[in-house]
């Protein structure tokens, strides 16, 4: 089963051809890692999945991203707000809102018009449990989220995203601003989350990609060089450039 099927995707930021003819599959309930040097297009592709590129003016996209088999996510009939509740996103640095922990997790639901207190509380608890944060914050849900540590903030952002019960979770270098212990916690968390959600993660760390992902896609200068099961990409890469990047010859 596929979460996304990308077909001949091209993307231009004005004259900059940022994604060149990318075709790849993102399988469901697996962790797919997008790797490659800075400016290779991996984050750009990630932002295509929840159409965050819509916010950047003068962006042109051709090709297709099919979701759940047959829905073209850029089709006019697709409600972009619905899409974003179904495809959650976690950003590079933790970006909790300056509100209480509870209000952060309830934010997406409230934007969906859900006001029922019982339902909100239940979802907040479930999300915080799934994000492995509940035990640390259950007694202080009304505390300002900005008082949490960096690692806790990032898990809060994960909780905030999964509160909407998305099918996909996009993660844009989610641990690059965290210390090794907080990183390890997030990586553990991803292993449990992939039971419920499809995870697509952009990472600069090849060891992270090797540790946590099931599928890996290697990008270079806007092109998808190679994609496949992580073990294959790291042990028997087919392309010389993939091998050079993985072995640290450039990066």
């Amino acid at each position: 089963m596929l979460a996304f099927k990308v077909e001949n995707l091209n993307l231009w930021y004005e004259d900059n051809h940022a994604l060149i003819d990318v075709s790849m599959d993102v399988p469901r309930n697996q962790v797919t890692a997008l790797i490659g040097p800075s400016g290779c297009g991996k984050s750009t592709l990630l932002r295509c999945f929840n159409r965050m590129n819509d916010l950047i003016p003068k962006t042109k996209i051709t090709g297709k991203i099919l979701m759940k088999g047959d829905v073209e996510i850029r089709d006019p009939s697709v409600d972009v707000v619905k899409l974003r509740t179904d495809v959650g996103m976690v950003f590079q640095s933790p970006n909790p809102f300056p509100m209480s922990i509870f209000d952060n997790v309830a934010y997406g639901l409230r934007c969906q018009g859900i006001k029922d207190k019982k339902q909100l509380s239940a979802t907040v608890e479930r999300s915080l449990r799934q994000a492995a944060l509940w035990d640390e914050v259950k007694d202080s849900l009304q505390r300002n989220a900005l008082k949490l540590s960096g690692g806790q903030q990032q898990r809060l952002c994960i909780a905030r995203a999964i509160a909407l019960e998305p099918s996909v979770l996009l993660m844009d270098e989610p641990t690059s601003a965290l210390d090794p212990i907080a990183t390890a916690k997030i990586e553990d968390l991803m292993q449990s989350l992939k039971q419920m959600y499809t995870i697509v993660i952009v990472t600069h760390s090849m060891s992270q990609a090797a540790r946590i992902s099931d599928q890996t896609a290697f990008f270079l200068l806007g092109e998808l060089i190679e994609a496949g099961p992580t073990a294959e990409i790291f042990q028997v890469p087919k392309d010389k450039r993939t091998e050079d990047y993985i072995s640290g010859k450039f990066g």
Binding site: F97, P98, G108
Partner: protein, 321 residues
């Protein structure tokens, strides 16, 4: 490089480093001195106003000694009769009415304007609007006063005529409120623009990625995040409203008995009380009482700032620890 050469280089470096340390120390003292000077000014002004303003209430003042309670709770201000009556109570109420009224009128408009300038307007329009707001802030209060006396009072008079209310030629509480609302608009707006522009873009993206619309993002995340700066703008704006004397005196009408709750009636503020007749007065009770009113004005502003801090904590739903 021989040993001797190395030594001279080392000596040069040492003297360079010690000079840097010295410079740091001196600069630190200069900064401290400047901060101290600013703090001293506040202390000095307060001390001067207070020590002078409490004189009429002390027994050492002699025959003309005033009752503090009668002063604070009084509803008449008649320095022109004998013996003169100084009751500031109704003036406090009317000052609060005009200033808070101006804030209630101006605050929402200012914040929405700021949101438009910082987040919605295209870059060119943003530049134009920013300049306009800055120009509004730069207009001297006497010019606002002339404008108010010539235009706002006429407007108020016309509105009063429609309802068949006598408006003393337009000089009224209503005119003061509109005048102050216009005067504090640029203050609140420009501080809010700064605060809103400083909101981290990643917070907005986070909100949009959670399926919020741009408007939901602006109201729920951007304004909440900019709360501190926006309320600082409100505090400064209210400070200006409370402290404005010149323009207010030109349209207040300086009522002698109060308080008045009728917006079309003339009113009296603490500042216009200090100002009116200042040039005709001679040292003595009438002069000293102006300092007493000054103390009250300082207290009112202090209390209002405190109130704003409390409100700030309540809105936006963040619990501060």
């Amino acid at each position: 490089m021989d040993r001797k050469e190395k030594k001279t280089i080392q000596a040069k470096l040492d003297s360079f480093h010690s000079r840097k340390l010295w410079q740091d120390k001196i600069m630190k003292r200069i900064f401290q001195g400047s901060a101290l000077l600013a703090a001293l000014m506040i202390f000095f002004i307060s001390y001067f106003v207070i020590s002078r303003g409490i004189q009429p209430f002390l027994s050492s003042y002699g025959d003309e000694q005033q009752s503090l309670i009668a002063f604070i709770s009084g509803n008449r201000w008649r320095p022109d009769i004998a013996p003169p009556v100084f009751g500031v109570g109704f003036i406090i109420i009317n000052t609060l009415l005009t200033s808070l009224g101006a804030a209630v009128l101006s605050f929402p408009i200012s914040v929405l304007t700021a949101l438009f300038i910082a987040k919605i307007a295209p870059p060119k329009l943003r530049a134009v609007l920013t300049t306009i707001v800055e120009l509004l802030a730069a207009i001297p209060s006497i010019v606002y006063g002339v404008f108010a006396a010539g235009t706002i009072t006429g407007l108020v008079k016309d509105v009063g005529d429609i309802f068949g209310i006598n408006t003393y030629g337009g000089n009224s509480m209503f005119a003061v409120i509109i005048l102050l609302a216009i005067m504090i608009f640029p203050t609140i707006t420009s501080l809010s623009v700064v605060a809103i522009s400083a909101v981290d873009r990643s917070l907005e993206l986070g909100s949009i990625a959670l399926g919020a619309s741009q408007m939901e993002t602006n109201f729920k995340v951007v304004l909440t995040s900019a709360k501190s700066g926006i309320f600082a703008g409100l505090a400064l704006g209210l400070g200006r409203a409370f402290g404005e004397a010149t323009a207010v005196s030109m349209v207040a009408g300086n009522r002698m008995i109060g308080p008045t709750w009728n917006p079309f009636d003339i009113t009296r503020t603490l500042t216009s009380t200090i100002l009116s007749g200042m040039h005709e007065t001679s040292p003595g009770l009438d002069y000293d009482m102006r300092f007493s009113v000054g103390i009250i004005l300082l207290l009112v502003i202090l209390a209002t700032n405190f109130m704003i801090q409390v409100i700030k904590r309540k809105v936006g739903g963040v619990t501060h620890e």
